[in-house]
């Protein structure tokens, strides 16, 4: 599984990092999210799917 955060859509709601803190890091400046790496570790896949479902802006995609 790979994950992306659309920087145009992300508004820094921070829900993804609550659901999958090992996968998403938040900017120190404005809290906007980006994945630590595009490849999702196998043991983090469920958490990432939950992060996708939790994003109010629908900014996260997995493929």
């Amino acid at each position: 599984m790979k994950v992306r955060v659309d920087p145009e859509r992300c508004q820094g709601h921070t829900l993804c990092a609550m659901r999958a803190p090992k996968v998403f890091e938040l900017s120190e400046i404005d809290g906007h999210s980006s994945p630590v790496t595009e490849d999702v570790p196998a043991d983090q896949e469920d958490a990432v799917v939950e992060a996708v479902r939790s994003c109010p802006e629908r900014a996260i995609s997995v493929f």
């Binding site: 859509r9 508004q11 820094g12 709601h13 921070t14 829900l15 990092a17 609550m18 938040l26 900017s27 120190e28 400046i29 404005d30 809290g31 939950e50 479902r53 939790s54 994003c55 109010p56 802006e57 629908r58």
Partner: protein, 456 residues
């Protein structure tokens, strides 16, 4: 939902019709029924109230508006210098109440400049540094009441902690919290025709005067905080007008005070009514604190919505809009959208996929969302640890009569088994905390100071 008699011409596009008056006291009592009516077939409808405006109640529709970019405007053209738009309140405040609501009543690029200046004070990393400060104010508030076995969770806790913390971040002396607290709350819940209103207006004027004085002070003698960030900011090499800066500081007060109070009071009232859930939340807090917080935000949505003005003729979400149309984005109703939330009128402390809109959507997402979450969670944990058996008194509980602006509470008295104080009272604590703010520069942005507040 009805079809209007006049379905020709411009009226034809203003369909379907609903009667929507969120300022009426009945709306609070019939919120769930009314919301179900919207979701039953008109998630985007026209209401004739307040000069006529669209009402968006569906999650999908709100997301479409959030992505509509320049087709929508937040601008409040107080002096009639641009297109006369009326900002985010429906109805707009009476003429002469001449302040723009800060950057929430601005569009990019101006709005972006403000957010850019303030973000480094309000990001998750910035707020995390303040946790010991928030804990200490909360501790002192509970200590004031803990030996008596009685507390008003609004007056004695949830009104105080957000107020003191907001002032600390702004760089305003903590001892002034009452000067700001009265107008920030009473200004929201006092009906315009009430005999109390004259006093509230006076308190509001005193607050605005102090904000203006603060701006002058930090210019003359810089001290860290949000006020300093605004005093130093420039847009295209020019300082914004003082009236806009005062509006921005008033927005931070309005955003920081009454909203978190409202969330905390409602959550504590609910937990008192559901003691088994309260015990479960306390016991399983590692797993449940985040999801429960988001669920309370979804279910109670303290700031129920925002207005917009359509800035060009366009189609959004399948409807035709004309430039100048007014639009109400109901974050509160979208948070009960059954298309997104299973069993939406039930509180589920472990709810998954909770992509609620309590902080809004798009570029105007509540800039204080990380503040609200942190302050709420710390107050909740202290209450669960120190007065775990609290029972709220429905007889003494006072909800806001109307929920058009904030779904809040005036009083939430409770009793509990008395406990022991852990430290000094509020006045002494605020003096200690003020020294910490001054000596450690706690209100610096995270780009300048990384360290957590040291209070012991």
């Amino acid at each position: 939902m009805t079809t209007a008699p006049d379905d020709t011409g411009d009226e034809a596009r203003k369909q379907p019709r609903v009667h929507f008056d969120r300022h009426a006291p009945e709306y609070r009592h019939h919120f769930e029924e009314k919301t179900q009516e919207f979701h039953g077939g008109c998630p985007l409808a026209w209401s004739d109230t307040y000069g006529g405006h669209w009402v968006a109640a569906g999650n999908r529709e709100l997301l479409a508006f959030a992505r509509a970019g320049e087709k929508l405007s937040n601008d409040h053209d107080v002096h009639g210098e641009r297109r006369g738009y009326q900002g985010i309140s429906i109805p707009a405040p009476p003429r002469g109440r001449g302040l723009r609501g800060g950057f929430l009543e601005m569009d990019p690029p101006e709005q972006r400049a403000y957010r850019g200046a303030l973000n480094p004070y309000l990001s998750p990393a910035a707020i995390k540094r303040w946790i010991p400060f928030i804990d200490e104010v909360t501790r002192a508030c509970l200590d004031e009441r803990i030996e008596s076995g009685r507390i008003d969770f609004v007056d004695d806790l949830a009104n105080i902690v957000p107020a003191v913390f907001t002032l600390a971040m702004m760089g305003i002396p903590l001892k002034k919290w009452e000067l700001y607290n009265e107008p920030a709350h009473a200004g929201v819940y006092t009906p315009p025709n009430s005999p109390e209103m004259a006093r509230v207006v006076e308190a509001h004027m005193a607050m605005i005067k102090d904000i203006a004085a603060t701006l002058q002070e930090v210019r003359a003698t810089p001290r860290p905080g949000l006020a300093d960030a605004l005093a130093r900011m420039e847009i295209d090499g020019k300082a914004p007008a003082d009236s806009d800066l005062i509006g921005a500081l008033a927005l931070l007060i309005g955003g920081g005070f009454d909203t978190t109070t409202a969330l905390t009071a409602h959550a504590l009232e609910w937990l008192s009514e559901h003691p088994a859930e309260r015990e479960r939340l306390s016991r399983e807090r590692e797993a449940l604190l985040d999801t429960a917080t988001e669920e309370f935000l979804r279910y109670f949505t303290p700031a129920p919505g925002d207005g917009r003005t359509v800035a060009e003729d366009c189609e959004i979400s399948g409807k035709q809009f004309k430039e100048g149309d007014r639009l109400w984005l109901s974050w509160a109703m979208a948070n009960r959208d059954p298309a997104v939330f299973a069993d939406p009128d039930r509180v589920d402390l472990a709810r998954g996929g909770n992509r609620h809109t309590a902080f809004g959507l798009g570029i105007h997402r509540c800039i204080g969302s990380n503040v609200a979450r942190a302050v709420f969670k710390r107050m909740l944990l202290h209450v669960l640890d120190r007065v775990p058996d609290f029972v709220c008194d429905p007889e003494g509980t006072v909800h806001y009569e109307t929920i058009g602006v904030i779904q809040g509470m005036r009083h939430l008295p409770a009793t509990f088994t008395p406990g022991r104080r852990l430290g000094p009272g509020l006045a002494e604590t605020l003096e200690t905390l003020q020294r910490a703010c001054d000596e450690q520069g706690l209100a610096e942005p995270v780009t300048v100071r990384k360290a957590e507040a040291k209070l012991r």
